[in-house]
């Protein structure tokens, strides 16, 4: 019934006493089963939001519904007080920043690692990002306000943050990165097909998510740093088994070959 392969090591941090049970007219069972189920659902939803088809636009309706579900769980967890407890526990931990995937994070003991309290913001942005992927560029395509993502979707603006990212798990192939300086962003229609290797490789799936992100996002430092996260290969192994729709391109950890295949594919389409 639950996500296949998800190791539910995360134990309910708030075995709060009947706190929840006494609240309000709606009696919500705060049993650990319910909490676990809810957590599992949250994890599953976040994974679904991130898994997007590299080459085809993801279904906006589905993304909106999943995002609303995430919001709903979040709200309920905030009301329970579970949310604060979780984020505090995660904040106390030392961790390599950038885990968007809550599964991995929350499956570890709370003292260990996590995405810190960016968890909440990350989710917000994941939600927002899922929306943003379909932002239309109504204006002149060359206007600087809109993004012109290259086939590999690397965002020029992210470049600064890429270097700052604390992601230490750089065994993934970073070949999807495309470094385009800020100044050139407005002028480029097609990115060059350079394949470079910056320090922390952005996940192509993430890049795709944010391909149309409004520049105003850059003002939110924490958001940005959070967004630079490159989820580890680990969770994506489960993800492949979880979702039949997982695009092969997401397995960045495998090799650069997949990305080159991507390139070939795109060249085929264009020509």
């Amino acid at each position: 019934m639950f996500a296949k392969g998800t190791k539910r090591k995360f134990s309910d941090p708030g075995e709060e006493p009947a706190l929840g049970a006494e609240l309000g007219p709606v009696v919500r069972p705060l049993s650990s089963t319910y909490s676990l189920q809810r957590q599992s659902l949250l994890d599953m939803s976040l994974i679904k939001l991130q898994l997007c088809h590299m080459l085809v636009e993801p279904n906006l309706c589905r993304s909106v519904l999943i995002a609303n579900t995430v919001r709903q769980i979040q709200e309920e967890m905030t009301q329970d007080g579970t949310w604060q407890i979780m984020t505090q526990a995660l904040a106390a931990a030392q961790c390599p920043a950038d885990r968007l995937v809550a599964t991995e994070v929350l499956c570890r003991p709370s003292e260990a690692l996590a995405a810190a309290q960016k968890e909440e913001e990350e989710e917000e942005v994941v939600v927002a990002a899922a929306m943003e992927e379909d932002v239309d560029s109504e204006a002149n395509p060359l206007s600087s306000s809109s993004f012109l993502p290259a086939p590999f979707g690397a965002e020029p603006g992210w470049e600064d943050e890429e270097d700052d990212s604390e992601d230490e798990d750089s065994e993934e192939c970073p070949s999807d990165a495309e470094d385009v300086p800020d100044s050139r962003r407005g002028d480029q229609v097609f990115g060059t097909f350079e394949i470079k290797h910056p320090a922390p490789p952005p996940d192509p799936a993430l890049e795709e998510l944010f391909s149309d992100v409004d520049p105003s996002y850059y003002d939110l430092d924490t958001v940005l740093t959070g967004m630079q996260s490159t989820p580890k290969m680990g969770p994506y192994d489960l993800l492949d088994s979880l979702s039949p729709h997982a695009a092969p391109a997401l397995s960045t950890g495998t090799s650069c070959r997949s990305d080159l295949n991507e390139l070939d594919h795109i060249m085929e389409i264009i020509s």
Partner: protein, 451 residues
């Protein structure tokens, strides 16, 4: 339904046994007379079937099969090709999302077909004569040597084998940023609407470089987006009315006379939520996947994940009828969320007299509900049980109580076999069911004596 049903099955894949993705049927639609049936598939192709008129003519004898012909392939053409959005570096699928026929005005037939981004108008015409006897060209079309021409002749039209020509007449492009989910031809015969996730545009059939935006629910900040448009349709008689459904389970009836931009609805149809059955999936399963006006124009039929509902246009407080399509899935919602089945968009249809509604389910099952009695029946679209003239067997999903032979357990249902698309003949009891890559056409032949 009738006891005696002829069920000719038309296998879309012909000789192939395996299902190629491109052959999956994505839309089915009868034209206004029911003589033509169009299907669109994921590969961007459109196949038009035509009903054969039995040469026996009017059936003088009772019970004669004179007037019910089979549907045979009439024409096939490639409607849309895969495309690439260079701005977003994303592919545009060629899958045909919807086909709608225009009312016939002359000998030719017109239909609109759409993929995610572009709507096209196609002209389907027949040619069964060709001119012969040109003076300057020979039979192959090559220019004749003028010196060999000694006399003049008048070309005559000679009958030839029937040729069906399909030509694109209009291409309505660049109207949509998001994915087009619906098109609907207006009763005025001149305009149609196309709806994507966030906007609805109205086009004139003759003008391709302009369209009017009549609904726009895109928020200023995309982070605030919580609701999308899932389906839209014009009223069958009133050319100023249309309805659109949302992912939150609401229906909005809009009157174009009220203002140019119909963001503000004229009527909002929403069923108050039952607090007792609230779960994390409540919103997802309330999302309306299809909305259809009744032929009378008085009612609306909607489909959400577990139910089909009939609404009275005069009452916006809630549906007047609710039919459980597969309530046994309510306890499986988490699994269905995990495997994404919960996002499947089922269509729903009315019969010609608005007395029966039909919708699809899993395991190649589809359901019909008689509105007068409120009773529903489950039928199956399956090759093995569909020999020509075989009676469609009713099926049952075991949900408790006494188990009968042939009952299916919920866990043995095949969730990859979904009946999402279907159509009902406009005047007769003939239904077209798309089961993945197969098209089934079922006819109900009621003995006139029992009517």
């Amino acid at each position: 339904m009738g006891e005696d049903a002829e069920s000719p099955k038309i296998n879309h894949t012909f000789l192939r046994d395996y299902v190629t993705e491109a052959d999956v049927i994505s839309t089915v639609e009868f034209n206004q007379t029911g003589d033509l049936l169009a299907t669109g598939d994921k590969g961007g192709r459109v196949v038009i079937f035509q009903r054969e008129i039995d040469s026996k003519g009017e059936s003088e004898e009772v019970g004669d099969i004179g007037d019910s012909g089979e549907y045979n392939v009439y024409s096939t053409f490639q409607s849309h090709e895969p495309d690439f959005d260079y701005l977003k570096s994303l592919e545009i699928e060629e899958k045909i999302n919807k086909i709608r026929w225009l009312p016939q005005q002359n000998a030719a037939h017109f239909l609109l077909s759409t993929n995610d981004k572009t709507v096209k108008l196609w002209k389907v015409s027949e040619r069964d004569k060709r001119p012969e006897g040109y003076n300057l060209k020979d039979e192959e079309g090559r220019l004749k040597d003028i010196s060999t021409i000694t006399s003049l002749q008048v070309p005559v039209l000679k009958p030839t084998d029937l040729m069906v020509e399909v030509r694109p007449r209009r291409v309505f492009s660049n109207g949509h940023t998001y994915h087009v989910n619906s098109i609907s031809v207006n009763s005025d015969g001149e305009t149609y609407l196309s709806a994507d996730d966030l906007r609805i545009n109205m086009w004139h059939l003759g003008i391709t470089d302009r369209s009017f935006n009549i609904v726009d629910i895109k928020p200023a900040n995309m982070e605030d987006l919580t609701e999308v448009i899932t389906a839209a349709e014009f009223h069958p008689q009133h050319c100023h009315l249309f309805v659109y459904s949302s992912s939150k389970g609401t229906l909005r009836l809009c009157d174009m006379r009220a203002s140019a931009l119909c963001d503000k609805h004229t009527k909002l149809f929403e069923e108050p939520e039952d607090p007792g059955s609230r779960s994390f999936f409540s919103e997802i399963i309330s999302s309306v996947s299809d909305v259809k006006f009744s032929h009378s124009g008085r009612y609306l039929l909607t489909r959400d994940y577990l139910t089909a509902k009939v609404w009275d246009l005069h009452m916006d407080k809630g549906p007047v009828e609710t039919y459980q399509v597969h309530e046994y899935l309510r306890s499986k919602l988490c699994s269905l969320y995990e495997n994404d089945c919960i996002f499947d968009k089922f269509e729903c249809v009315w019969n010609s007299s608005d007395s029966v509604i039909m919708t699809g389910a899993y395991n190649n099952f589809f359901r019909m509900f008689d509105r007068e009695t409120g009773r529903g029946v489950t039928l199956e679209a399956w090759r093995e049980s569909s020999k020509p003239r075989a009676v469609l067997r009713t099926r049952r999903v075991y949900t408790g109580g006494k188990r009968r032979r042939g009952d299916m357990g919920v866990d043995s249902l095949d969730f990859t076999k979904k009946i999402l698309h279907m159509a009902w003949h406009p005047s007769e009891n003939i239904i077209a069911i798309a089961a993945t890559n197969n098209l089934y056409i079922f006819q109900d032949r009621v003995n006139p004596e029992t009517q």
